[in-house]
């Protein structure tokens, strides 16, 4: 299980990379491995939308299940990775890199404190395995 140490994590298996006041968001390796092969991806927000922490920003479907992707932090959507709607298999092959989903300009960066670091997230994943 790949859990990069420089990212923050949610209990619903999203990751956040912080660059200044911008949060780059995607889903974790654990999430993609649980879902298995992704067969559909759709954004639920537009550039310029205000999102709330926990709100749905995208929907993923695999052969097993459909899952919502939730906003890890609140703020304004400033970029979307449009290539994902065509090449959703990137979520399986490169969840932390090419499969980034949104960039959010954070309205409340203190929300980052509520997220897990890599060690805590690793433990959280292991707990769910047993």
């Amino acid at each position: 299980m790949n859990i990069p140490s420089d990212l923050k994590y949610t209990t619903t298996d999203e990751w956040v990379k912080v660059e200044g006041n911008t949060a780059i968001v995607g889903v974790t390796d654990y999430a993609q491995s649980q879902l298995s092969d992704i067969v559909f991806f759709e954004f639920q927000v537009e550039i310029g939308d205000e999102v709330k922490k926990g709100g749905v920003i995208a929907t993923l479907e695999s052969v097993k299940a459909a899952a919502d992707v939730n906003a890890p932090v609140s703020g304004k959507v400033i970029a979307r990775n449009e290539s994902l709607t065509e090449k959703f298999e990137l979520v399986n092959s490169d969840p932390y890199g090419e499969a980034w989903m949104l960039k959010i300009e954070m309205s409340n960066p203190q929300e980052l404190d509520t997220l897990m670091d890599a060690t805590a997230y690793q433990k959280y994943c292991e707990e769910r395995e047993h």
């Binding site: 649980q34 092969d37 067969v39 559909f40 479907e61 052969v63 097993k64 299940a65 459909a66 769910r128 395995e129 047993h130």
Partner: protein, 491 residues
């Protein structure tokens, strides 16, 4: 051996019927409406009959063997249902006939409504919805109509436990509601604290399945419905799992305001490809005026000599029609037959045996498969299809391997709260011998998972085609089989 498609079997000029030369003048069709080519397969009657018979022989069905598809209640469908549905008075009735010419059909619908009211403990029933999810949508629209009728427009949320059927959130979203998911507690019940925290004046209702998709009875159901009612919300019951309660407990007594029933599950009408389904919706007396209609009612009371006159009535504040004409009438005949064949005692036995069968299987399997919420189950239970000491084997591999043992696989990867879920519902119609064979197969497969995992990963082996590429099937939707050269001609 694989069966070719009708297009592959097609041979130019072959046909099933040769029409005689017309004995009236031919009339020309309007210019723009005539196609140059119509790429349909060309076959004789015998080709078509043999094609479909061969396909049917490759099929798996409740008439062939155990079909333990969790939450689908794939019970055997007694053939007397088919006899009843084929009686000419039912089979040949037309929905636009004057009511005095179809009194028998209307009487059957009325009596079925009454029977379903008695079985569920509810106040009124509409037979219109075509299937379960359609019943859900109908129910949520009734919730909306009820709140709107009171001028209460601030209710925007529907609460749904994470152990609910996947269609519940979809039905709520389609009705314009925001879906709020509730977690389950350690025993597989709705987490009461989370429910209380979520209940405020914006809650329109709760959608609850009892027993839930873990096959577990909601132990706090009275408390759950009380909390929602106190917050001003309504409680919707997903009746998909009613088979576990028939004749023993009634949703109406548990505090449900609305409930759909699946005649194609609990009441033995054909399910899946054999449908169509039928999803009647039952409500409390308070909500009766919102039901979709028209509903069969007694227009004139009968006497000892004269039977009552049945007819249709639209409820006062009905959400309207949800189906053309009166729903799937043929299914109503089958369900009515099933209920009368069993009687009250028999229906109770159905539930008892369904629960006994599931618990027998659970007892045989719990030492081989991990059961995450292990307590006395109702009509079904959920096992994990994964072992720490058999890496790489998943629920899907177990499901596929079961096909080699001549069983239909159980529901898998649902509910989502169990990892690698295998959801097993044997139903009451299976004998101990069949259950034992199925348990033996699952125990053997668990052994194979540890000793010969490749056998599972490449299963099924004894089918016309091997493992299907589900990813490709989902990504590349090819729904027609055109001859490439014909397609180019048509274009």
């Amino acid at each position: 051996m694989t069966e070719p498609t009708l297009f592959e079997l097609s041979s130019p000029g072959r046909r099933g019927v040769r029409f005689p030369e017309p004995d009236v003048p031919k009339s020309a069709l309007p210019e723009g409406f005539v196609r140059k080519d119509l790429p349909l397969p060309e076959l004789a009657e015998v080709d078509v009959v043999r094609h479909f018979v061969r396909l049917s022989q490759k099929n798996y069905a409740v008439d062939y063997g155990l079909y333990p598809l969790g939450s689908c209640t794939m019970k055997y469908n007694p053939k007397i249902n088919e006899d009843a549905a084929r009686l000419p008075g039912f089979a040949l009735a037309h929905p636009l006939q004057p009511i005095d010419t179809v009194q028998g059909s209307l009487a059957l619908m009325y009596e079925l409504q009454e029977l379903l009211k008695e079985i569920t403990g509810m106040g009124a029933v509409s037979l219109q919805p075509a299937a379960g999810a359609h019943g859900e949508l109908t129910g949520v629209l009734i919730i909306r109509a009820y709140h709107q009728s009171r001028g209460d427009t601030k209710r925007t949320k529907i609460l749904i436990p994470d152990s609910a059927h996947g269609t519940n959130p979809a039905s709520s979203a389609m009705s314009g509601y925001e879906v709020v998911q509730l977690p389950s507690d350690k025993r597989g019940n709705v987490d009461l604290e989370a429910l209380k925290a979520a209940c405020d004046e914006t809650v329109a209702g709760l959608m609850l399945t009892n027993p839930n998709t873990l096959g577990l009875f909601e132990e706090n159901v009275l408390e759950v419905t009380r909390v929602v009612h106190e917050a001003g919300g309504l409680v919707y019951g997903d009746g998909a799992n009613l088979n576990a309660l028939l004749g023993i407990a009634r949703p109406g007594d548990m505090g449900f305001d609305i409930l759909h029933l699946n005649l194609h599950k609990t009441f033995s009408t054909p399910h899946g490809g054999g449908g169509p389904g039928s999803g009647p919706v039952a409500v409390t007396e308070t909500l009766a005026e919102f039901l979709p209609g028209p509903i069969v009612t007694i227009l004139e009371e009968g006497s000892e000599e004269v039977p009552p006159l049945y007819g249709f009535k639209m409820p006062n504040r009905s959400i309207g029609r949800v189906k053309a004409f009166h729903g799937h009438f043929g299914m109503m005949v089958r369900a009515y037959t099933y209920i009368l064949m069993h009687g009250a005692e028999g229906l109770r036995k159905v539930a008892e045996h369904a629960v006994l069968n599931a618990n027998y299987l659970l007892a045989r399997l719990r030492h081989v498969y991990h059961i995450p919420y292990d307590r006395i189950c109702k009509h079904e239970f959920v096992a994990e299809g994964i072992w720490d000491d058999a890496p790489g084997v998943h629920a899907l591999d177990i499901a596929k391997r079961l096909i080699d043992y001549d069983f239909h696989p159980p529901t898998n990867y649902f509910p989502l709260i169990v990892r690698e879920a295998l959801m097993i519902e044997p139903t009451e119609t299976e004998s101990k011998q069949t259950l034992d064979k199925f348990a033996d197969a699952l125990i053997k497969i668990a052994e194979e998972a540890h000793t010969q995992p490749e056998l599972l990963k490449s299963a099924p082996h004894h089918t016309p085609v091997g493992r299907l590429d589900e990813v490709k099937a989902a990504k590349e939707l090819v729904l027609c089989c055109w001859f490439p050269e014909k397609e180019s001609q048509a274009a």
